[in-house]
Amino acid sequence: MKQAGVFRHAAVRLLGLIPTLLVLITIAFFLIRIAPGGPFDAEKVLPPEIRANLDANYHLDEPLLQQYFRYLGQIVTGDFGPSFQYKDWTVNELIARGFPVSATIGGLAMALAFVLGTLIGTFAALKQNSVIDYSVMGVAMLGISIPNFVVAPLLILGTAVYAGWLPAGGWDWSWQRMVLPVVTLALPVVAYIARLTRGSMIEVLHSNYIRTARAKGLPERQVIRRHAFKPAILPVISYMGPATAALITGSVVIERIYSIPGLGSYFVQGALNRDYTLVLGVVIFYGIVIVVLNFIVDLLYAWLNPRIRYDEAQ
């Protein structure tokens, strides 16, 4: 019964993906075209012969609507086309190379943030209104407030330039090169998750069933672990859906400062270069990732919270 409900829910959500993406593609397609200038505009202007030739070869001389339908027909086959800027690579190749890097760093950062954040948050909630609580939460607030373009260069200076423990940037899949970007990405998320956990943990600890559990004489450790933890992290889970999507699709700032070949820079560089195919490809990919992650969050919710049951929704 319950199983079937989840599957039906999944099917509906996946079907709902199609109109969402279509709207996304349409808006993105026309927005990037509205932006002034085109992929071949540069300080060194092209002679008209060359310009006409390029436009014809990339179908930029056709009416916009025709280009739109041509593009739709093309991406249905899963082909995002060649990049205007990076001429030796297709958009598919660039995403296929960029995403694993971003996903690794983002995934690790999220894992680190989740573990540290919930631990710190729980700890602070247990010592509510003590000096420890205030100092831990104060540090967390700092973590949220200091932007990562300040943290990152400081970390590089400290660990790479002065101490020489870690490389100053670059990428080769070694753990040494992952440490700094993962930590930098995780810091604000740790802080955010800690605050969320603390708030909801305090609320949960004041609820009746926790009082019952304590009255039964259960050790505090078990009360927290078995009864309080799951409901307390519900808000964290709903925050994690979009936050994970944002982390694993890459951060421009982190990528530039640590010279990491992730997905984030392609989005920004693509927009600045008016690299139409690259921007659209990344937007669509990003859209899919968000929808899928939100869907996973929904499933997690159902598992964590007995009050939500999809088969009873009707």
Partner: protein
């Protein structure tokens, strides 16, 4: 050549000796060990015993290269790598001088329109296939062929019929390029083009391996596929991580090429690049951040290298709109009241040269025009500016309101701010700053509707002043000034057909004089290149084109003595 680099080295050693006592905090220990004294053999090569064991160079390279197809590449990062991978008919020495490349020698016809090239006979591709004149013919044809879709082909327009072929009006075979025999080829031009030999040393004129291109299509420039004819071959390319080249043992000068491996790393962020250099991960940076000059000068005096570059920075007037239409006195007043000395010394700070004309000095022997006010003191200029400003009908009660427009960048902003305050101080002008994203800015410049004063600059593709003057021609695609002067246009036409070098230079000088007397731009300064270079890396020289082939470089080993002193 090497004698010069030796004497430079001696000065460097002397300088660093005084620097030893200063606080070394922040520099990786050991990285600061000084190179040993360079010893040269009789043939001008460095003695093997002073060379570092590992001849590997790590070069920061700016943005990710857009392609390694020599005929499509345009950006500096891509062309820099391609110059290591390929060799054209002509080539460049470490000093940037033109030297024979694949062609051993050439003849130029009396009318300066026909070039005959005689190729070396022992050339091979990196896969061992023989390299012949027809490979070069194929290369040039491919670059211009509309099918290839090359924007870089615009520099090949001096070749006879290139324009028609690009427009699809004539087949590729009609190009003014012909094969005379296996080792001889001829190129015919539409007119005398003194910079043409230099152009042949650039990637768009490089040969490509025909069989390879035809078999692999657009995949031919990938590592493992790319067959080249230069000092290095492509072995690895991970986008936005690194491009690795290794020495090509089949290159004609492989014996004298000392560097075994070059690692090009894209460095999008200048501050991050400097940190990588400081941590020892790079031998050569693409640039350094503008705001770190003083600090670098104090802490990295041996590594910091600045040198004139063939580009100039200026502001342009939109001559088609108020207030600058038909108002030369106002334009002149604004030109005069900019204190270039302050901008270069206090704002940009990298040793840029204050400029009073368009063409930077040092380009192919050309001496740029210098207006009379170049020799005045700034007070005199301000005085004259006030007179002209009033003559144009403005005063303290009725000040000029004007917009300075620029594309988003720290330097543009700082310069615009400085200029605005100089105008305010000297004349009482109310200038506002408008910054725009690059392509929006370009479009506004081109449309000439909202622009008044805008930032501009030009870094030449080739070593010829014509590249600067050309864009002020009536109707030129980059003539965002709306400038049109028959005399100027006629002079440029003459430049295009003049065969005698001295006369051609005089015509260009005259054209520049006409342009400057029409007050179309506010010259500010001429560019410099600025970077950090590992003092152990030798064999390269500063040049206005900023071309530095890895082929001539080599790495010295650290002297044990000085590194022991550093690490007690």
């Amino acid at each position: 050549m090497f004698a010069r680099s030796c004497s430079v080295l001696c000065c460097v050693m002397a300088l660093s000796a005084c620097g030893d006592g200063q606080n070394d905090f922040g520099r990786p220990q050991g990285k600061r060990a000084q190179p040993v004294q360079l010893v040269l053999l009789e043939d001008g090569r460095p003695a093997p015993e002073v060379l570092a064991e590992e001849q590997v160079v790590y070069r920061g390279n700016g943005e990710e290269p857009e392609t390694l197809d020599p005929h499509l590449a345009q950006g500096v990062p891509a062309t820099r790598i391609l110059r290591d991978l390929f060799e054209g008919l002509t080539a460049e020495s470490a000093a940037g001088d033109l030297v024979p490349g694949a062609a051993l020698r050439w003849n130029i016809s009396r009318d300066a329109r026909t070039y005959t090239f005689y190729l070396r006979r022992d050339l091979v591709w990196s896969n061992g296939d023989p390299l012949r004149a027809d490979d070069f013919v194929y290369g040039l044809q491919r670059a211009i062929d509309p099918e290839t879709n090359s924007s870089a082909a615009r520099t090949l327009l001096p070749i006879l019929n290139a324009r028609e072929v690009l427009a699809g009006e004539l087949p590729v075979e009609e190009l003014g390029i012909s094969l005379l025999d296996e080792f001889t080829m001829q190129i015919t031009l539409t007119g005398p083009t003194p910079y043409f030999l230099g152009l042949l040393a650039s990637p768009v004129a490089f040969p490509v391996h025909k069989g390879n291109v035809e078999a692999l299509g657009d995949q031919f420039s990938k590592p493992g596929n790319l067959i080249s004819n230069g000092a290095f071959v492509l072995t690895e390319w991970t986008p936005r991580v690194s491009i690795v080249l290794e020495k090509n043992p089949r290159y004609r000068q492989a014996e004298t090429t000392l560097i075994e491996r070059v690692v090009y790393t894209p460095t999008e962020d200048r501050a991050a690049e400097v940190k990588q250099f400081r941590s020892g991960a790079l031998d050569w940076t693409n640039e350094v951040p503008n705001n770190q000059f003083k600090w670098l000068q104090a802490n990295y005096p041996d590594e910091l290298v600045t040198s004139p570059w063939m580009g100039s920075y200026f502001l342009g007037f939109n001559l088609t709109q108020e207030p600058f239409i038909d108002n030369p006195s106002l334009r002149m007043a604004l030109i005069l009241s900019v204190d270039r000395q302050i901008i270069t010394e206090k704002v940009t700070q990298f040793g840029e040269k204050p400029s009073f004309a368009l063409v930077p000095p040092g380009i192919d022997g050309y001496v740029p025009f210098s207006p009379e006010y170049a020799d005045w003191a700034q007070e005199e200029r301000d005085h004259e500016a006030r007179r002209l400003y009033e003559q144009a009908g403005y005063s303290e009660e009725n000040p000029l309101r004007v917009e300075i427009r620029y594309n988003t960048s720290d330097n543009n902003k700082k310069i615009a701010l400085a200029v605005a305050s100089m105008w305010k101080q000297a004349l009482g002008v109310n200038a506002t700053l408008v910054n725009e994203e690059f392509r929006v800015f370009l479009q506004n410049r081109e449309q000439k509707l909202v622009t008044q004063v805008f930032s501009a600059g030009w870094i030449s593709d080739y070593n010829d002043p014509y590249s600067f003057l050309e864009m002020f021609r009536t109707g030129h695609g980059r003539n965002d000034y709306g400038y049109s002067n028959e005399t100027f246009d006629a002079l440029l036409d003459e430049v295009g057909t003049e065969r005698v070098r001295a006369r051609r230079e005089r015509l260009m000088f005259e054209a520049e004089r006409v342009l400057m007397s029409d007050h179309v731009i506010i010259p500010i300064f001429t560019y410099v290149t600025k970077r950090l270079v590992n003092p152990h890396l030798k064999g390269w020289q500063n040049n206005v084109m900023d071309h530095h082939p890895t082929q001539t470089m080599f790495k010295l080993k650290s002297s044990e003595m000085s590194s022991a002193e550093k690490n007690p």
